[in-house]
Symmetry: C2
Subunit: 212 residues, 2 copies
DNA sequence: TTCACTACTGAGCACTTGTAAAGTATTAGG
DNA sequence: CCTAATACTTTACAAGTGCTCAGTAGTGAA
């Protein structure tokens, strides 16, 4: 792989490019199926060139997930900061962790609204949703480099939805509602990703039924 | 890999052993992450020895899925044949395809009963559930050898649940109920697989709420 | 006992994997 | 212009990939 059209990029920019490419590839093949060579080729550099930026294959995965977390936090900010119409955070991946109740005076959005917003956002980025779907399943085994990450993530999301459900108040206990919402979300997204023509927003609206 | 304790097995038996081992490994690493060498080692033979039985890596995957289909059909038979307490078919994998209405005189079980039975069975075989969870996500990309299989499977399951829902009758349209049930099932199973101590049966009972 | 059959091995192919070491070319700051 | 930092390449490696081919050893039937 001789590169003579050497385009030298500043580290930050190259890193962003790498993460974008790697995200797409991991979504397609999973982490075990990911090859550094493919990522490098996609970025127009050699494999050691790639390793110069991410250190190792595990390092690359960590970079991807950290980038996602940052993106989610950003998206959350605009979700909570703006009136309930801002761009929300990814679904199978919403990091609603930052303080929820001490909001900036705007009335905290309802569970239904948050879900709708998350769904709306995810509908626009199937690649990311697929990334999380694949990684989430792959990381079920404890020796996967992202195992701990996804265990923590599941707990975090459940806690977040539980808080929302508690605020909303409903017949079922909030923890139960949380489990149900999360399960529905993940399940519907899988169905969506597998039927090419389908519309996630419509699918969710149909399926969700009576949320509190 | 010198094998001097050559234990020669009849083809059927060896094949069964291979499929069992491969099932476990695919559940752990996915299909992309599966190595023929690992499977061979697990069975106490060499890689060409393994290939003698399954032909190729893709052939191995096909064998796994076909074996699962057969198992599911068998389980379905006893589910429908016996009073609603027989051993049912796997959840993320229930092949309820054979004629459902022309049953053998026994009253066809309700949707709720079928779900409960499926859940009961899956609770006893987390390895299988994980296999399907991993493969289902991995095969989202169209060039995965099991892609078509899982597309067809999703449609089949949706149709089957729809039929059950139609019989049960409820407020929502049967197709919607089907999507919801399938999504819930897949989602709850993911949660279950990720929390080591949890009990799937309990989890399902809590989460499912008001099925028709 | 012989013979066809078949489960299986050993060696090896052409290739890809992730990673290390060392060097080169480009850029930024003084 | 010079120098330090750094983005990147070349080369290499040891191991692993799925798979083929040619052979060997055990088995059941004639």
């Amino acid at each position: 792989m001789a590169r003579h059209d050497r385009t030298r990029l500043p580290a930050a920019e190259r890193r962003r490019q790498i993460i974008t490419a790697a995200t797409r590839l991991v979504a397609e093949r999973g982490f075990w199926g990911l090859s550094m060579q493919d990522v490098a080729a996609d970025c127009g550099l050699t494999v050691p060139g790639l390793l110069h930026h991410v250190g190792s294959k595990d390092g690359l995965l960590i970079a991807i997930l950290e980038h996602r977390d940052a993106e989610d936090a950003r998206a959350l900010a605009s979700l909570l900061g703006a009136p309930p119409l801002g761009v929300p955070s990814p679904s199978s991946s919403p990091s609603l962790s930052p303080s929820l109740s001490p909001s900036l005076s705007s009335p905290s959005p309802s569970l239904r609204e948050v879900c709708a917003a998350v769904v709306r956002r995810n509908a626009s980025q199937p690649e990311i949703v697929r990334l999380f779907a694949v990684l989430q399943a792959e990381s079920l085994t404890p020796d996967h480099p992202a195992h701990a990450y996804f265990v923590a993530r599941q707990q975090r999301i459940l806690d977040e939805i539980t808080a929302l459900a508690k605020a909303a108040g409903g017949p079922a206990p909030p923890e139960t509602t949380a489990r149900r919402v999360m399960a529905l979300m993940d399940g519907v997204q899988l169905q969506w990703l597998r039927s090419p023509g389908s519309d996630l927003i419509q699918l969710w609206a149909d399926t969700v039924g009576d949320l509190p």
